[in-house]
Amino acid sequence: MKDILSLFFAYARSGLKSRFQYKVDAIVVIFAVFLREAGGVIAMYLALQKFGTINDWSIDELLFLFSLIFITYGIFIVFFMALRDFPDWIKHGDFDRVLLRPRGVLTQLVLCGADWLAAFGHGTLGILLLIISANRVGVEWNVKTVLYYLMCVIGGVLIQGAVFLAFSAITFYVLETNSLKEIFYWNMRKFAIYPLSIYNKFIQAILIFVVPFAFVNYFPAQFFLQKPDMASYPTWFMYITPIVGIVLYALAYAFWRFSLRFYKSTGN
């Protein structure tokens, strides 16, 4: 464990160093990421000025919902960037280098890939939204809620990690998965910024069972907000985000291991 931590810190140091080589540029990039994402928030804010609420969710509640997306993504991208860009790793042969080293294949990928600039951009925005909204929607912070919030964040990171891990495993078979990611990750993420209950059954099913973004932000937010639209879903959905994260990640990992064997047996 200590061993893995020291490797992570060595990579983190190198990653930060290379990203902040040109400091002004790095800060501009972080700011640009921040603004790009904040644009979505502002658009939502302006729309809410007109409508007042969406499905009984006020603007502050929506911001709370939104903040979970940014916070989990900010952490997610510290660990899973290599999987986000995995097709390139295969095409450029970088992946073979990983295979040769005396460390777990996935350990290396998770530790070495960190998009620090995106992490800072998304992370700051997420934390900012959380600070603004949490008070106004009346979240009571105590040991229990803080702990559950943190577990939900970890669960949300694992859910997204599992999705990318599964896509990476698919890469072994088809080499190019960027359009899959576009449809099943980035588009679903756009849906997830609004309450699940506003969508039709089909999209809800996808968000709950296929790419379970609902467990990244909607159900954990319901735990804190207790909105009436939660009545359409089993109550226990509010409590299982950490479990969904772990189970999904374990399944994705099994699929990854299986596919890795396939990769070796075919060669590329």
């Binding site: 990579y11 080589q21 042969g93 073979d96 295979l99 005396p102 047996s265 060669g267």
Partner: protein, 323 residues
């Protein structure tokens, strides 16, 4: 160290890159893997490294199946040379570079040490030795993408030697490298091979380079092992023709019934090709000196490259016959 029995690898598109190769490489041996592009060199290396699975046959590296390499398996050092795609850009062969482009060399070496669990003191000592040997001392604080290709390849080799690997595989390490750096790398490899402590596999299509470093040559030809043995034996078994270039003060002599293969004479110069098993160089040159006014004489031995070209030719002719 490495044992292969009837090893084959066929890709899903039905290309058989490695066909029925059986061979044994002893610990500490240095072997040159030679073959044209597409001869199966890279696939063979991938199989040895456990990056892909053989279709059939037996393969053991360090006594273990390379596909089942564990965290405790002895490290394999792999250096891949650059493939230049156009005038300026280059990328690396199948397993790309050890070093990360956008950070300093020193931090790179630290990460390599970390990944391979090399204790810090040992890492620092080796880094010190290696950077001295490769003349990289002043470059430690440069980012890798600021290095020239020659410097970079030296750094790659140094980074891999940091692991003190028992098996070192070099895939075309000299491509695009300037003469001085090439010399440094070659010297390093030669002394490494001489110590008989590290098994070295050098892939190249430059036979001369292989000859300087390796004691044995493996010649791959479309996936099969066309030759496996020492360079000396290669020379002896496929003796090419020696060649004498002689110039004279006046007319070249008449060779009469000397058992030479062929000769050409032009003005006062003469080129003679002969097989040393028919006539020794001493007898031939003695005849030339005695019989006429010799002004200059050069005797050339056949180069390994010529011999290999002939072997390939034989193979190809053989194949043509079958068709």
């Amino acid at each position: 160290m490495i044992v292969m029995k009837e090893l084959s690898k066929t890709f899903p598109d039905n290309v058989t890159a490695v066909k029925n190769i059986s061979l044994h490489i002893a610990p500490g041996e240095s072997v040159g893997l030679i073959g044209a592009n597409g001869a199966g060199k890279t696939t063979l290396i991938k199989l040895i490294c456990g990056m892909c699975k053989p279709t059939s046959g037996y393969l053991r590296v360090f006594g273990e199946d390379p596909l089942r390499r564990s965290k405790n398996s002895p490290p394999i050092g792999l250096v891949s040379g650059a493939v230049i795609t156009d005038g300026y850009n280059y990328h690396y062969g199948h397993a790309s570079a050890v070093l990360q482009d956008d950070i300093e060399l020193s931090l790179n070496l630290e990460i390599v040490g970390n990944i391979y669990r090399i204790p810090k003191t040992l890492r620092l000592r080796r880094t010190d030795d290696l950077t001295k040997a490769f003349g990289l001392n002043d470059l430690l604080h440069y980012r890798v993408n600021q290095l020239s290709l020659g410097q970079r390849m030296k750094a790659e080799l140094a980074a891999v030697l940091l692991l003190a690997p028992k098996l070192l595989i070099l895939d075309e390490p000299f491509i695009g490298v300037d003469a001085a750096s090439r010399q440094t790398m070659r010297n390093m490899l030669r002394s490494l091979a001489a110590k008989n402590d590290t098994t070295v596999i050098l892939t190249t299509h430059n036979v001369l380079e292989a000859e300087q470093i390796c004691s044995r040559i493996l010649l791959l030809d479309s996936g099969t092992l066309a030759y496996n043995g020492s360079i000396d034996r290669l020379k002896r078994s496929h003796i090419g023709l020696n060649r004498v270039r002689a110039s004279f003060d006046d007319m070249p002599p008449d060779l009469g019934d000397m058992p030479v293969a062929r000769y050409t004479a032009e003005n006062t110069c003469m080129t003679i090709e002969y097989d040393v098993s028919n006539i020794s160089s001493r007898d031939l040159s003695g005849y030339l000196i005695k019989g006429s006014r010799l002004s200059d004489i050069i005797i050339e031995k056949p180069t390994v490259e010529q011999i290999i070209r002939e072997i390939y030719k034989e193979e190809q002719n053989g194949n043509d016959d079958k068709c």
